[in-house]
């Protein structure tokens, strides 16, 4: 199989140029011993309440809500557009960071950009991180927060019929897994799932994973580090739950409409394309964008690039279509 795999697809020139300048401090490979330095490092910039408020455009509140049965409470960060009436769409955000990094402020500014164009209430969940808290802690925290959000939608100013789950990278994987849980447990009805370059497959052996080893952002080694933190020795084995790695799900029917995007030059390309294909094969709805020459998270690292601008615009266009706004 691997003999058929060609060289890595080239990065988009603008993205490659930006990566060269930013690559300092952002190695493609990430090993377990680098988790702590990464957590305490400056790479994931601190986001203050003032940053989140955007000069009064958003009201910032924190809610502590029940966690999974027998587990600690979960903290939800709630961002409400200033002057919002009741019944706005709700964006339930699951942050990225390879299952091992970040907090519920990480990447939330992207959702704020969407909410500026399509007024929505943002709820961002603080889930426990691996390796200290392996599967199922992270996904169960996400699910518990979603259940509370759906139940208390009206109080939050959210129309419960228009609740969308969204996440990038590990957050995309957890969002997909949370959507599977919601389906299988008869939980909250989701209006959509936005899976941005989602981390779906613990087997880490697709052609794109092999091709991109040692290149770009979040390569095969980093991916192994993340999945092993979440699953330990089970990673890649026969017993992995679809709620840990949604690519393992045998049934992708009955899911909310999906938006999936990914770069052509990243580890997750093939697992994300396959996930969209399998949703269609199961009779579901999905919109898939594969952005040429994109590395993992290209639009966050290099938002100015032409392809990043298009990727960002495509998400907002999907939201508008989905929500009919």
């Amino acid at each position: 199989m691997t003999t058929d795999i060609g060289p890595p697809p080239p990065f988009d020139p603008e993205l490659a140029a930006a990566l060269d300048v930013l690559a300092v401090g952002l190695p493609p490979a990430l090993t377990a011993d680098m988790i702590e330095p990464m957590r305490s490092g400056s790479l994931l910039a601190e986001v203050s309440d003032d940053d989140l408020a955007r000069g009064g455009a958003f009201t910032v509140t924190r809610r502590t809500v029940p966690g999974p049965a027998g587990d600690p409470d979960v903290e939800l960060l709630v961002l409400t557009p200033a002057g919002a009436g009741p019944g706005l769409p709700g964006l339930y955000h699951v942050h990225g960071g390879g299952m091992i990094l970040g907090d519920n402020r990480t990447g939330v500014e992207m959702l704020q950009d969407w909410a500026t164009e399509v007024p929505s209430v943002i709820v961002s969940v603080e889930y426990r991180l691996a390796p200290e808290h392996p599967h199922p802690a992270p996904v169960e925290d996400c699910y518990a927060g979603l259940v509370w959000t759906a139940k208390n939608a009206t109080e939050l100013g959210i129309d419960p019929q228009r609740l969308i789950i969204a996440g990038a990278s590990a957050g995309g994987g957890l969002a997909a897994a949370t959507a599977l849980l919601a389906r299988d447990r008869g939980g909250p009805e989701l209006a959509g799932q936005m899976l941005l370059c989602p981390m779906l497959d613990d087997r880490n052996d697709t052609p794109s994973a092999v091709q991109m080893a040692g290149r770009g952002v979040w390569d095969r080694t980093a991916n192994d580090t993340g999945w092993t933190a979440l699953l330990g020795a089970d990673r890649g084995g026969p017993e992995v739950s679809p709620y840990a790695a949604p690519a393992r799900a045998t049934d992708l029917s009955g899911l909310p409409p999906a938006f999936i995007d990914v770069g052509s030059a990243e580890t997750f390309r093939d697992e994300d394309v396959a996930y969209a294909s399998r949703i269609w094969q199961a009779g579901g709805r999905a919109e898939l964008h594969v952005w040429p020459g994109g590395f993992h998270g290209f639009d966050m690292l290099a938002p100015q690039a032409a392809v990043s601008q298009e990727a960002r615009a495509a998400r907002v266009r999907w939201l508008r279509r989905l929500l009919g706004s």
Binding site: A16, A17, D20, V21, Q304
Partner: protein, 377 residues
């Protein structure tokens, strides 16, 4: 992490930041990135808007530091002409008396627009430029600007230098040297597809209306209906306006029109600017007067007049072209005019004061110009 400009600022400007700038544009060149990506790179790295203007290739790009394109729309031709006039700050240069006498309102409007003879005059580029901005010449007339007052620090200087080098590589690769594209677009033997390609390289759209303009430099020049009208510093033949694919015909007509122009001097009085469409049946004479053709006796008569006094031919031309002798005399005292004309009468050999005589005189001047400009450029 997201802000490249802030990241560069944090680096040692002499070493680290400069190396990053070099790496950034090297990667763009390596990836054969287009002009927008290069200008965007300059804006993003410098943290201020950047713009590239290339009047000769009709390129104008402006990008914000967040990467969004804010290239201004092209201005209507009339507004641009006014802007050019204001910007140039120069009055119309002196015209020969005969030219002035012959000029109608349109011609004087043209003279007022001091745009160099209409070679791909370009609307919409110079708007709002600040001479204090940092800038660098990319190549023949193309300028890259960072919209921030100079003088540039070491990082800005490096951005300008590397972005200009990258842009130059793109221009060399994708924008054929202008003369080649110009020759193709007016060449009747080139296929339509090839001519349309060349037109695209020149920044023309298939829906554009455009004319060819002939100057003594023998190179084709183009002007769209949005461009300011040409102002004749040099002898200028103007072809008819039409679709891009009609440019070969416009060019042929412009070359003929050029043969009917004069230097506008005492030795060669007459209009510097001639529109092919205004020639009518006169254009047919161009085919007759070829190099070494024997001069018509009436042309020799004009030469005899020219030999009598420096002012003689210009005075006669004014008489030929002005609506009336009285109008011609507006520039020369009436009695002086009469005195001069009676001096000329003997040399000429026919009475140019009658309508047929005046036609004969005008024809003689036209033939004289054809003899002086015996070939198409």
């Amino acid at each position: 992490m997201r802000d490249l400009a802030a990241r560069l600022t944090a680096l040692d400007p002499d070493a680290g930041a400069a190396l990053q700038v070099i790496a950034y544009f090297d990667r763009l060149i390596e990836g054969r990135a287009g002009l927008p990506a290069i200008i965007r790179g300059a804006a993003v790295l410098a943290g201020c808007p950047a713009r590239l203007t290339d009047p000769r290739r009709r390129i104008s790009l402006r990008v914000q530091p967040d990467g969004t394109d804010t290239t201004p729309a092209r201005q209507p031709a009339s507004a641009q002409a006014a802007a050019d006039q204001a910007a140039s700050g120069r009055a119309a240069s002196g015209q020969a008396a005969s030219d002035q006498a012959a000029s109608d309102q349109a011609a004087s409007d043209q003279a007022a627009s001091d745009q160099a003879a209409a070679s791909a005059a370009f609307a919409g580029s110079a708007a709002g430029e600040d001479p204090g901005w940092m800038s660098v010449e990319v190549t023949d007339g193309a300028v890259l600007r960072l919209e921030r007052a100079g003088p540039p620090g070491p990082v800005d200087a490096m951005i300008l230098e590397r972005a200009a080098a990258a842009a130059r590589a793109v221009l060399d690769r994708t924008h054929a040297p202008l003369p080649d594209s110009l020759k193709i677009v007016v060449n009747p033997d080139a296929t339509e597809a090839v001519r349309l390609q060349a037109a695209t390289r020149l920044g023309l759209k298939t829906t554009d209306f455009v004319r060819a303009i002939a100057l003594p430099d023998a190179r084709p020049h183009l002007a769209t209906d949005r461009d300011p009208p040409p102002s004749p510093q040099l002898r200028t033949g103007v072809g008819p306006l039409g679709p891009v694919l009609a440019l070969p015909a416009s060019w042929a007509a412009a070359q003929i029109a050029l043969r009917f122009t004069a230097d506008g001097t005492e030795a060669d009085p007459g209009p510097r600017l001639v529109h092919a469409e205004q020639l009518g049946g006169l254009a047919l004479l161009a085919a007759v007067i070829i190099p070494n053709a024997a001069p018509v006796p009436d042309v020799s008569a004009l030469d005899r007049v020219a030999a009598t006094a420096p002012w003689a031919l210009a005075t006669l031309n004014a008489a030929a072209e002005a609506p009336s002798l009285r109008a011609a005399a507006l520039r020369i005292h009436h009695s002086t005019m009469q005195e001069r004309l009676s001096h000329i009468d003997h040399q000429l050999g026919w009475d140019f004061r009658t309508p047929p005589g005046r036609l004969r005189l005008q024809l003689a001047f036209a033939l004289r110009r054809l003899h002086r400009n015996p070939t198409a450029v």
